[in-house]
């Protein structure tokens, strides 16, 4: 992992010594634990999340601590999980539901799009849906086409939803706690390849752990990062890289390896988007690379490119460039040909600088 400057702008927390080293799984669990401890209305459920604590163990121990009516196993019915969650939220609870893999959120898509996202609007504020839908996303674990997808653009197009993608344990906790406290439905996408350690796309190198990474240090207790604030992971003057989740680390690696002075912006929240941070950076650098793991066409990168060219047209020295997953299903054996790794990102940076 390249060293990156940590800038805590926008994080609201108790300063001091209350920090712990955590993996992203532990940070998520800690956020849930803290929220459940502070607010009886927070309930957690989903497939295998109860006794077992989830296939990625993000909810391990919560049933034991808070009892089976606060954290429990759900039948395998994603629409039911989200639909029941909406009912609970309308009652006044704060459900945090887990979809086992983002690839399995589609059965719940109707409930999310037609119901959760529009409850407040259609009832003129009478009924609301303060619910968080968590799900592991992205590839890098040889999960094939049904354990690797990044469906964020399918949510950013749906007005009424907020969409969050953390890139490290520190942010995962702060953003998840904000999401739980948010009065509206939040789609919380957890890059699964980052659960146990940072990952910069060099799949052939030894894996590293969060405990040796600055952002593996997570404030204890109540700690929130406001939704809608991007953060600069690496300041630079040559080119702006707009990205989120796993790709933040890939972008940092590519900057390091190419020696190109890229400004890497971790968007953290895709909706609402921190457009100011984006335009400020691109106006400064004059070049922009948009980077995500999801398939290219109609991905969230399209929106970013559209916005950047619109807002920064006169300062752009080259077309906004997108690097993304190819427009194919995520192929099991070709995972590393599919994944937009540091080589591909580096090439794009170089080409962008040559324009």
């Amino acid at each position: 992992m390249p060293k990156c400057r940590r800038i805590f702008s926008g994080s609201v927390r108790k300063r001091g010594s209350d920090m712990a080293r955590m993996t992203m799984i532990e940070a998520i669990r800690d956020a849930l634990d803290t929220a459940m401890g502070a607010d009886e209305r927070v309930v957690v459920f989903g497939e295998d999340v109860g006794y077992f604590g989830g296939v990625f163990r993000c909810t391990a121990g919560l049933q034991k601590k808070y009892g089976p009516t606060r954290c429990f196993d759900a039948p395998i019915n994603e629409s039911g999980i989200v639909g029941a969650g909406i009912g609970m939220a309308a009652y006044g609870l704060k459900p945090v539901v887990e979809i086992q893999f983002a690839d399995y959120v589609y059965p719940a898509y109707d409930q999310i799009v037609s119901e959760a996202a529009r409850l407040r609007y259609r009832s003129a504020g009478e009924f609301t849906c303060p619910m968080v839908v968590r799900m592991p996303t992205g590839g890098g674990i040889f999960g094939g086409q049904t354990h690797s997808q990044s469906p964020e653009a399918l949510f950013t197009h749906v007005t009424g939803l907020k969409v969050v993608v953390p890139s490290n344990p520190h942010d995962a906790k702060g953003l998840l706690m904000s999401a739980i406290e948010d009065p509206d439905p939040v789609i919380f996408l957890e890059p699964k390849r980052l659960y146990n350690g940072p990952f910069d796309g060099h799949h052939d190198r030894p894996v590293s752990a969060w405990k040796s990474h600055d952002l593996g240090e997570v404030p204890e207790g109540h700690f929130t990062i406001p939704l809608g604030q991007a953060i600069t992971r690496r300041p630079g003057r040559a080119v702006t890289v707009l990205t989120y989740g796993t790709m933040v680390h890939v972008a940092l690696a590519a900057a390091e390896e190419t020696g190109i002075d890229a400004e890497v912006i971790d968007l953290r929240t895709l909706m609402p988007l921190d457009l100011e941070a984006i335009t400020a950076s691109v106006r400064k650098t004059g070049r922009c690379l948009v980077l995500h793991e999801a398939t290219l066409t109609s991905g969230f990168g399209a929106e970013l490119a559209a916005l950047v060219q619109q807002e920064c047209f006169w300062t752009l020295e080259a077309p906004v460039r997108r690097v993304a997953g190819w427009d194919t299903p995520y192929p099991h054996v070709h995972e590393w040909s599919y994944f937009p790794g540091p080589a591909r990102v580096g090439d794009a940076l170089r080409e962008l600088m040559e324009v």
Binding site: M88, L93, Q111, F127, P183
Partner: protein
């Protein structure tokens, strides 16, 4: 392996069809209707398996002579006022429907959906619930509001999408919402709210509350997948919820046989989940109320969900966009054997000696006058295209609790 498949006749697809289509003679002789009072009333904590028969019968209270008979009549104990209120609510709903239908034809609103023939279902069920309980209705249960004394004026303002519409004109007409009156915001998407009702009921149980939920769905919509989600969750967590199915025989142009498939009844669906399932005469105010109370009591005693199928008939078109004569005989509704819920209740009150033909005519006129007066009041505020309408700048409100920057920019661009 059988080797001689080729000797078998070829397969063919079965596509269910209703008994009659336009031009044919309406025929409900296949609908088996047990006499009023003939179906038993098990204790609320009886084993679901022991009352399997109730999913294949029809619980009825009012007989042909207008008497309330049998075990389901016994526990009801309604006062004269309560009985007359029941009749009045149904009459009000019918008058309201008539006026709003007319208003739609006059283009004062874009759309309307009536309840003709189904008034008993929602008007009576409302009286089985307590304040604080929550209905998750479809578009055909306005009786829940009327019987709950929700102001007609507010309902009409919603129909007209005028400046006093509490939903600010955002929703299609008839898609009311009132938390205070236990009426969840109606969704245009079928069946989605069935599972939400279960979730709401689960939340009440999680919170150690005493409130229950009631889910609503049409015969056709039981085919939707969220119906299954609801039954799975309700059955698994024993949610305090009443799962209502209004079988009005039709889903737009599609007869109930398509959704029901090979099962004898819609109530039977509950049996696959070990959920008690009762079939009720939906045109019998007292039967609906009695069964509703029974199910509500089960829920409140933490005994879990109940499925209720209301057997009724959609006399009118599906909505103002529909013309049923294209797919069923126009006289079919006359042939419907369960009669008119209002007429049956009226006859009951007359049989009890607390009502008369005269009073009924009088009441009819009075209710229509009231409804018409309220309508004038609503129209004085505004209708879809005239008068005071919600401000377009409102369009950007309530998408989120707090308006995010991109919506602020759009509102500005829109110039509102």
């Amino acid at each position: 392996m059988d080797k001689n498949t080729d000797d078998l006749p070829p397969l063919h697809l079965t596509v269910p069809e209703p008994e009659v289509r336009p031009g044919g003679q309406p025929d409900f002789s296949h609908v088996q209707i047990p006499p009023a009072g003939s179906v038993r009333r098990p204790p609320v904590d009886a084993d679901p398996e022991s009352m399997r028969d109730l999913a294949f019968s029809i619980i009825r209270v009012l007989n042909r002579d207008g008497e309330a008979v049998g075990p389901w009549a016994e526990g009801l104990d309604l006062s004269e006022d309560q009985l007359r209120d029941g009749l009045r609510h149904m009459m009000t709903l019918r008058a309201y429907d008539a006026r709003m239908l007319m208003a739609q034809r006059q283009q004062k609103t874009s759309f309307y959906m009536q309840h003709l023939g189904e008034e008993a279902v929602s008007c009576a069920f409302r009286k089985a619930l307590n304040p604080g309980d929550m209905n998750f209705p479809t578009y055909r249960q306005a009786g829940l509001l009327i019987a709950g004394d929700y102001p007609l004026l507010t309902m009409m303002n919603q129909i007209y999408s005028n400046a006093h519409d509490p939903l600010r004109g955002r929703q299609l007409p008839v898609m009311y919402s009132s938390k205070e009156h236990g009426f969840f915001t109606i969704s245009g998407n079928l069946a989605t709210q069935y599972i939400q009702a279960v979730g709401w009921a689960m939340a009440s149980a999680i919170s150690g509350d005493r409130k229950i939920a009631a889910a609503w769905i049409g015969d056709g919509s039981t085919a939707e997948s969220d119906f299954h989600a609801a039954l799975v969750f309700a059955s698994t967590y024993k949610a305090p919820v009443v799962l209502n199915i209004v079988n009005n025989q039709w889903a737009i142009s599609t007869f109930q046989g398509i959704a029901r498939g090979g099962s004898g009844t819609f109530a039977a669906r509950g049996l696959g989940f070990g959920i008690p399932a009762l079939r009720v005469d939906g045109n019998d105010y007292l039967a609906v109320l009695a069964v509703g109370k029974w199910a509500a009591e089960r829920a409140r005693l933490n005994l879990g969900p109940t499925v209720i199928e209301y057997v009724t008939y959609r006399v009118g078109g599906h909505s103002t966009s529909d013309d049923p004569s294209a797919y069923r005989p126009a006289e079919e509704s006359n042939a419907w054997p369960l009669g008119d819920p209002i007429l049956r209740m009226k006859n009951h009150l007359i049989a009890l000696g607390i009502w008369s033909e005269d009073r009924h005519v009088q009441a009819e006129a009075q209710i229509m006058a009231e409804v018409t007066a309220v309508q004038k009041e609503a129209e004085a505020v505004g209708t879809l295209h005239h008068g005071q309408r919600p401000s377009p700048s409102d369009m950007f409100e309530d998408v989120y609790a707090e308006m995010p920057p991109h919506l602020q920019r759009q509102r500005q661009e829109a110039g509102f």
